[in-house]
Amino acid sequence: MTNPARASDCILRTEGLSKEFLGFHAVKNVSLNIRRHSIHALIGPNGAGKTTCFNLLTTFIPASAGRIYYNEHDITKSDPASVAIGGMVRSFQISAVFGQMSVLDNVRVALQRKAGGTFAFWRSARVLERYTGRARELLAAVNLEPYANFSAADLSYGRKRALELATTLALEPELILLDEPIAGLGHEDIGPVTRLIAQVAKDRTVLMVEHNMKVVAELCDRITVLQAGEVLAEGSYEEVSNDARVRAAYVGGAHA
C-alpha cells in the first residue's frame, strides 16, 4: 500500500513507527504517507492508537522504534517545540486556548513566536501592536473578530475551537494535526467547523483524527484505519467504508 517511489510528494512519512508502553504495543509498525495538500484522516476504534500516533508524530512522546520524516528530514529524535517551529502544529482534543488572555492576544502570541524576539524582556509589549492587523485578519477568517477583546475563557466551546484554529493558522503551518475537532460540539456547530477546516486546508495539509464518519466522508481525501495499533486499511472513503474488516472493527452493522 505504501509507495516509497513517490515519497517526495509526502510531507510526512513514517517507517515502522511503534510505541510500546511497558510491554503493551499501542502502535505497531505503522507506516504513514501523508500527501502534501491533502486532508488525511486517521480513524479506528477506541484505543487503536490514534492519539498515540499524534503524540509520536509531534514527538510529545518518543517512539520505541521506527522513523518519522517531515519534509524528508528525520525528526524522530526532535522535541515538540522544534517540530512546531518546523511547521507541523497540532491541536488538542480538549480545547486548548490561553484562557486568561484576550482572544486577540491568543493569536498574537502565536504570531510573535513566528516573528521571533520573544525573549526580549527589556522591550515594551507595545512592539506587539505590529501583529494586531494580521491577528484581526485571522480572527475574521474564523468569524471571531467581534470577540477580539473577550477573555478566551469566556468563549463558548465552538468558538474556542475556532480560536484554536486561528491561533494554529497564525503559525502558517504546512501541516496541521487535529485530534477529534468535532467531538463535543453541538449539532449547530458541526457544520461551521467542518467548513472552517475545509477552508483552512487550502494550500496546506491536514491530518485529523475523527469519529464522526459524516465529517470524515465530507472532508477527507484519504483515510487510514488503525486497529490495535496496526494499519488495517487505507484508501478513499469509499474504499475504506466498503472494506468488510473496517466495517466489522469500526463502523459497525447499523452504519452502512
Binding site: 508502553f21 503493551f24 479506528g44 476504534p45 477506541n46 484505543g47 487503536a48 492508537g49 490514534k50 492519539t51 498515540t52 482534543q93 463558548s156 466551546y157 465552538g158 477529534e180 467531538a183 463535543g184 460540539l185 453541538g186 449539532h187 449547530e188 456547530d189 469519529h211 464518519m213 472493527a249 469500526y250 463502523v251 459497525g252 452493522g253 447499523a254 452504519h255
Partner: protein, 237 residues
C-alpha cells in the same frame, strides 16, 4: 404514564448557580421507574448542570428534587448516592492513581442487582485487556467505557449518564446501546444527556429539550416518529 406510583426522580422548579451566574432557571421533569429519559439541548444549555444538581454536586441549588419520593434538598452527595443513584460524568473522572481494575472496583456496592465483573468485561473486552494499566493511560474512548462500566456494578437503580457516547467509535456506541437495553430489562432507570440524537432516539422513552436552563420542550418516542419535522427543526439535526 401511570402517575399514581412514586416517580423515581422528580425535579420541580430547580434553579442552580455557579457563583453569581445562574445556570438553571427552573427545571421541571420526572423520571418514572424503569424509564430511559434523555435530556437534549445545545452546548451550555444546562444539561450537565441539571445532572450535577441531582447528585448533589451543585452546591447552590434550589427547588425540589426527590428520589423515590425523598426530597434531597441539603443532602450531601454521598447521602444522595446511598439512595441508589449513580453518576457517570461528562469528563469521565478516571483515576490516574488506580489501575483499570481498581477503578472498576472502586465504587462501593450500594444495593444488590448490579452487574458482575465478568459481565462487565464481556461487555467491554478492551477493559479486560488493559486491566492492570493505570486508569488514565487508557485512550479517550476506553476511559469512557470504564466510566460507564464502573457504575454498573454498584446496583444503583437510577443511572445518570452524561454524554456516554462522546468520543466512541460507532461499533462501541452500538454496544453501549445494547448495554442500556440490558440494564433496562433488569429494572434500572436511566437519565441521560446526549448530543448524539441518532443514538438518543434509539434508546430513550421520553425526551426533554433544555434551553437556557429551562425545559423548552417535552416529547416521547411516539411523537418522535409522528412529528419528525418539528423535532428536526428544534434540534437542528
Amino acid at each position: 404514564m401511570p402517575e399514581q406510583n412514586v416517580p423515581c426522580l422528580e425535579v420541580r422548579g430547580l434553579t442552580g448557580f455557579y457563583g453569581e451566574t445562574q445556570a438553571l432557571h427552573g427545571i421541571d421533569f420526572v423520571v418514572q421507574p424503569g424509564e430511559a429519559v434523555c435530556l437534549l439541548g445545545r452546548n451550555g444549555a444546562g444539561k450537565t448542570t441539571t445532572l450535577r444538581a441531582v447528585v448533589g454536586l451543585l452546591a447552590k441549588r434550589r427547588g425540589h428534587i426527590a428520589i423515590d419520593g425523598r426530597p434531597t434538598q441539603g443532602m450531601a452527595p454521598e447521602d444522595i448516592a446511598r439512595l441508589g443513584v449513580a453518576y457517570c460524568p461528562e469528563e469521565r473522572g478516571i483515576f490516574a492513581s488506580l489501575d483499570v481494575e481498581e477503578n472498576l472496583l472502586l465504587p462501593p456496592v450500594l444495593m444488590p442487582g448490579g452487574m458482575t465483573i465478568d459481565e462487565i468485561y464481556m461487555l467491554f473486552p478492551n477493559l479486560k485487556l488493559r486491566r492492570k494499566s493505570p486508569g488514565t493511560r487508557l485512550s479517550g474512548g476506553e476511559q469512557q467505557m470504564l466510566a460507564i462500566a464502573r457504575i454498573l456494578r454498584t446496583g444503583a437503580k437510577l443511572l445518570l449518564l452524561d454524554e456516554p457516547t462522546e468520543g466512541l467509535a460507532p461499533v462501541i456506541i452500538e454496544e453501549i446501546g445494547e448495554a442500556i437495553g440490558i440494564l433496562r430489562q433488569r429494572g434500572f432507570t436511566i437519565l441521560m444527556v446526549e448530543q448524539n440524537f441518532r443514538f438518543a432516539s434509539g434508546v430513550g422513552d421520553r425526551f426533554y429539550v433544555i434551553e437556557e436552563g429551562r425545559v423548552a420542550e417535552h416529547f416521547d418516542r411516539q411523537t418522535l416518529a409522528s412529528d419528525h419535522a418539528r423535532i428536526e427543526a428544534l434540534l437542528g439535526v
